[in-house]
Symmetry: C2
Subunit: 381 residues, 2 copies
Amino acid sequence: MIYLDNAATSWPKPEKVYDDINRCMREYCANPGRGGHAMSIASGRAVINVRELLARFFNIKNPMHLCFTKNTTEAINIAIKGIINPGDHIITTCMEHNSVIRPLKTLEKYAGIELTIVKGNEYGEVDPHDVKNSIKKNTKLIVCTLSSNVNGIIMPVGEIGRIAREHGVLFLVDAAQGAGSIPVDVEEMNIDMLAFPGHKGLLGPQGTGGLYVADDVRLRSFMEGGTGSNSENTYQPEIMPDFLESGTLNTPGIVGLGAGVEFINSFGLNNIRLYKHMILSRFFEGLEEIKNVKIYSKKSMENNSGIAAINFENTDSSEISNVLDSIYGIATRPGLHCSPLAHETLGTLKQGIVRFSPGCFNTVEEVDLTLEALREISVKL
Amino acid sequence: MIYLDNAATSWPKPEKVYDDINRCMREYCANPGRGGHAMSIASGRAVINVRELLARFFNIKNPMHLCFTKNTTEAINIAIKGIINPGDHIITTCMEHNSVIRPLKTLEKYAGIELTIVKGNEYGEVDPHDVKNSIKKNTKLIVCTLSSNVNGIIMPVGEIGRIAREHGVLFLVDAAQGAGSIPVDVEEMNIDMLAFPGHKGLLGPQGTGGLYVADDVRLRSFMEGGTGSNSENTYQPEIMPDFLESGTLNTPGIVGLGAGVEFINSFGLNNIRLYKHMILSRFFEGLEEIKNVKIYSKKSMENNSGIAAINFENTDSSEISNVLDSIYGIATRPGLHCSPLAHETLGTLKQGIVRFSPGCFNTVEEVDLTLEALREISVKL
């Protein structure tokens, strides 16, 4: 199979990810932070190491303010529901995933929050001035995706962060698409909360993700439960990361995530970015020679986190993806990608989009085979 | 290391757990329920298989009403916060883990719920009549642990379930301790909601767990986000299990959990129970010959899910555990085990307890070595 669905989850993972997970489970996987025996300490140390690794990766000063979650969705829910009160105003964008839109729409409906969705250009790119102009007295939070999971468009997160800081508004970035291929610096970008997945660009396993919360941001707890700390306290302890990490952590998953990030560090984030861009450029070049293709992604590396979103005229996106899968063994994702607003922006709510999302293990040969398949399909349509 | 901390997390796992996780990650781990390509379908099918396997394991009629969570704590939070409204009365017991107590105390403090904590006997065993007598007009929910994570005492869950059903009160069981060693039948036991971990008695990996919700129980959503279903809907879809499963699932973890349950099924739940009881009986017998030991667990299989909770007179439990770990390489868990109420009940809030929790891979030799170590320790005290 030619796997071009890395925006859903990256595959394959670096060998070290498989190996480290396996070794963790076989050799030392006790419950981290519970009990003081050698194996529990080894598990705890492994978790701390990855916490520190990720903190360095995102330039987070205090690793204890990075908590592990099961996925980005959990991180976003913790962040939004932990800070928002009835009457608050939230600004978000037209390219958000349902992991942002559904919590916000639910809060709008049941908890009396006010919501502004800033529109973008034809690619969904928002103008920071429009964000600025949407700020009101009761604006509490701006939520913005790092890049779109539909067409890869990179949002002006740095500029929006500056505006948020200037206006005393909190800034939450959904880095589900882009963490691991776009450099993220929470300090430089004025990010107060960063939600990210482990299993996409960071090359870790599914079941991992995280949330960074700046030192001066006070959330309500989202889940209460055992933390292995302050056990005598029948209320949630307020120290981080325990405050947001109730119940047993996914130790082998976190270890695997650490191996993924180590791979990125050893290869170099920028080199991975350049490699993926080379793959994607070749794909875009090849598409130029194929008839009836509509492209919804920008082609430059500065504007695209690594996705080619296309359609064949008005053909349903599922039809193309099905043929790619069943005849050519090529994995893509059609439909709406859990992002109806983005498709509304791109005008593809009905047709969907065929999304090609190569990863750092895809080869030039695979790109050429995919282009060949698309050429054949275009002739038959 | 002699690992006697299976109540925290089971270790080792059956070989098939390691192998299936590894094969899943290497061979077919795409995003289940997202996209229709061969690998995504293979992942989705693997998840469904485990859902059905677990449903059969707990006698859940509709597998779609079993949703996967990252741990038991998440499952309990989803259940309690999804059903409780201000003014509701909740009954729970004196042996609950902080995963139950902390959400309840938080709701009591901030959301105006009323809480009754039913006391038990010297082992923490509650009398179902006391539960019955605590029911009031506004009682919405009874929450009870299947067995205590501190001393293994098994609660009369079946009888409490009958009482709950007779009074039209919902019944949530926390099966963190006991699932995989005590037979659980949600129909027979009148369980409306069952929260369970994947990484303890079910022998799966950390990062897994689940919540069963009976067909006629309507929860509020806990997290909203992408579900891969009804993507055009900017609100959470109401179909189960999607309603409670936002964001990418932990596919390899769930596959590993399936392998754990298959191991239990092939070995036989009752055989595992008998084997663990044999191990534990030998341990209790040996303890009788050791001076100054106080035992807080019942010894019979009908009353104990598999824990020996002990102390040496008034010696701090951490001191004993530390010696066991550092001198003898024996892993136990001292302290409060995230269950302050249970320790209050047992009178060990200050001293803690040294918890021995053997698993189905512990051997008679390991028990004897542990007893030998305890004999030496008792002499030196």
